[in-house]
């Protein structure tokens, strides 16, 4: 059964005010297109969960979608801080619930395995364990060792952007795998957006790359360039210029609001966004795409690309 719908239909049907939402992707394959659609539909009161909120949650926070942010590292990767996030936290405008990276992905893993919590050997002697009452301890019934625990995280909806999917939602992802598989298995509903929609038999030729089976997926959206300005290995490079530019945009609430009007609220969909980016910029990012050996051989040689300008991150 085909679950192919537009981004607008997918969000309208499966994301509601007050939902706990997980947009997957660790700097790679971040579902910006679906996040922008949530902004356009004026969703409110969301609990936004991501290991790295990244620019997409900075934008959603600025647009007023978020009541709470659950995260583990809230920076602009390779650039600096997230300024809309920072303002919201400093003014008390959003609630935060914070973990370490291991803690946050373990929360998804626990939910994905149907467990209420996972024991971990981290968090000890940190102020985070004191500040977040959800981080607790348990004594191992076998060894007597003291373990830190984190509770399962069950998102109402997980959103994944992948390289290839079929109409039923079987989804293939490769390169940096992040936390997408855990997020999908942890969530009540899953929306998949994909660079390419292919026939099921194409996916069955290479089932190792399938991270989510179609029967867990509620909606599939064909969304080329759906992860811009983040990367999609094999399709386009990170738009590093934009990540750098965001630092200045997000420092200034007026400029940020104008950016949202121009690039999100004033556009009908991702196609309009790609047109506004312009063929030249898109082409340059596609030329800079990192492709794996098999893809490179098929395309007649490796692609390169070295966008310049990133400075040392905060860590």
């Amino acid at each position: 059964m085909s679950k192919l719908v537009s981004a607008s239909e997918a969000v309208r049907a499966h994301v509601h005010d007050g939902d706990t939402v997980y947009l997957g992707g660790f700097t790679h394959l971040i579902p910006f297109a679906l996040g922008h659609e949530m902004i356009r539909q004026g969703l409110r009161g969301l609990t936004l969960c991501r290991a790295t909120p990244d620019l997409i949650y900075d934008q959603m926070i600025a647009a007023g979608c978020a009541a709470k942010v659950v995260f583990s590292w809230a920076g602009n990767p390779g650039v600096g801080l997230l300024h809309a996030f920072r303002r919201a936290v400093e003014s008390g405008g959003v609630e935060v619930e914070e973990y370490t990276h291991f803690g946050l992905v373990a929360r998804l893993r626990a939910a994905a395995m149907g467990l209420p919590f996972l024991p971990l050997r981290t968090n000890f002697a940190t102020d985070l364990a004191r500040a977040n009452p959800e981080i607790r301890t348990v004594t191992c019934p076998y060894t007597g060792a003291r373990m830190s625990t984190v509770p399962a995280l069950v998102p109402d909806v997980a959103v994944l952007h992948v390289q290839r999917a079929d109409a039923e939602g079987n989804a293939q992802l490769w390169g940096i795998r992040g936390e997408q598989q855990e997020a999908a298995f942890a969530a009540r509903r899953v929306i998949v957006s994909a660079e390419e929609i292919v026939a099921e038999r194409e996916l069955r030729r290479d089932p190792d790359r399938v991270v989510v089976p179609g029967f867990l997926v509620s909606a599939v959206v064909h969304e080329p360039l759906g992860a811009h300005p983040s990367y999609a290995q094999g399709f386009y490079d990170r738009d590093n210029g934009f990540y750098l530019e965001w630092d200045a945009i997000s420092r200034d609430p007026g400029r940020l609001s104008a950016w949202l009007d121009e690039w999100v609220l004033g556009l009908a969909d991702r196609r309009a966004y790609a047109e506004r980016l312009g063929a030249e910029r898109v082409e340059a990012l596609r030329r800079g795409a990192w492709v794996d050996e098999g893809e490179a051989a098929a395309a007649g040689g490796p692609a390169g690309g070295r966008p310049a300008g990133a400075k040392e991150g905060s860590r």
Binding site: F26, T27, H28, A51, T52, F71, W73, A74, G75, P77, G78, L81, L82, R86, V89, E90, G92, E98, T100, H101, F102, G103, V105, A106, L108, R109, L120, R121, T122, N123, F124, A125, T126, D127, L128, A131, R146, M147, G175, I176, R177, G178, E179, E182, Q233, D237, R238, N240, W290, V291, D292, R306, A308, G309, A310, K311, E312, G313, S314, R315
Partner: protein
């Protein structure tokens, strides 16, 4: 720039010299990444670079723009999920060295990269732990890389994002720490170790730096080793390899 190299270059070279061939190193982007790549090209070709994005044995053809850069994935030994890299590699005890940085450090090596001010209503909200606390508790040895400034080297950190040696190394093991915690703090002025009580001690100066320089930029009464050493300046080989890595001044 003094004597043909910058203080940051000396810092990266000092970090690279401490890495041993064959070690598995949990790396961040920025200066630690440069230090690892430098060591790999000089005395430690067998270093295995591991990134929290799930990349094991990276062999990047460019300096990564972020920790999830596909340039890290291609040509790597393995790419696994984020959960797996923390669980199967870091928590399993397979990581020899982890690198950390921060906005603040105190005399026990506690690091803060979370907030300036109170946690509930911070004056400045920073990025937070990411993998930092996990690395500080689970890597066998931890190297801290920081610019030496009095606003960073403070009497008391505003928030303990990752623990150093409060109460001494023994008490941390009793609390559940698997790894050895911070072994060295490498700055643009010198290197600092930790004594048996867990307190930071100045052990080595970079060329041209005095003990007074370091004390002036440290926010507490810093202990100094009786036999404080002076590091040798970067060799021609180290400098040219480093500059070849950081083409265009991406990090330095």
């Amino acid at each position: 720039m003094s004597g043909g190299y910058s203080p940051e270059e000396m810092m990266v070279v000092a970090a690279a010299r401490r890495l041993r061939d064959g070690e598995r190193v949990f790396v961040g982007v920025g200066l630690p990444n440069l230090a690892c790549n430098l060591a790999k090209r000089l005395h430690a070709p067998g270093i295995e670079m591991i990134y929290e994005s799930g990349v094991v044995g990276a062999n990047p053809s460019r300096l990564p723009l972020s920790i999830g850069d596909p340039a890290l994935a291609l040509g790597a030994r393995q790419v696994c999920s984020m959960f797996d890299v923390f669980a199967l590699y870091l928590q399993r005890g397979l990581v020899d060295v982890g690198f950390l940085g921060a906005a603040q450090i105190d005399r026990w090596g506690n690091l803060n990269s979370t907030v300036i001010g109170a946690y509930d209503r911070p004056k400045v909200r920073m990025a937070g732990s990411g993998g930092a606390a996990d690395i500080a508790l689970l890597a066998r040895r931890v190297f801290i890389l920081l610019r030496h400034e009095s606003r960073r080297f403070v009497e008391s950190v505003d928030f303990i994002t990752s623990p150093g040696h409060p109460g001494g190394p023994g008490s941390m093991a009793a609390q559940g720490r698997l790894g050895g915690g911070p072994e060295v703090v490498i700055t643009d002025l010198g290197e600092l170790g930790f004594d048996t009580s867990g307190e930071m001690v100045l052990t080595s100066l970079h060329p041209g730096v005095t003990v007074a320089d370091v004390r002036a930029r440290t926010g507490w009464d810093l202990r100094v080793a009786g036999d404080v050493a002076t590091a040798s300046p970067p060799s021609e080989e180290e400098l040219s390899a480093l500059r070849a890595l950081d083409v265009g001044g991406l990090y330095l």
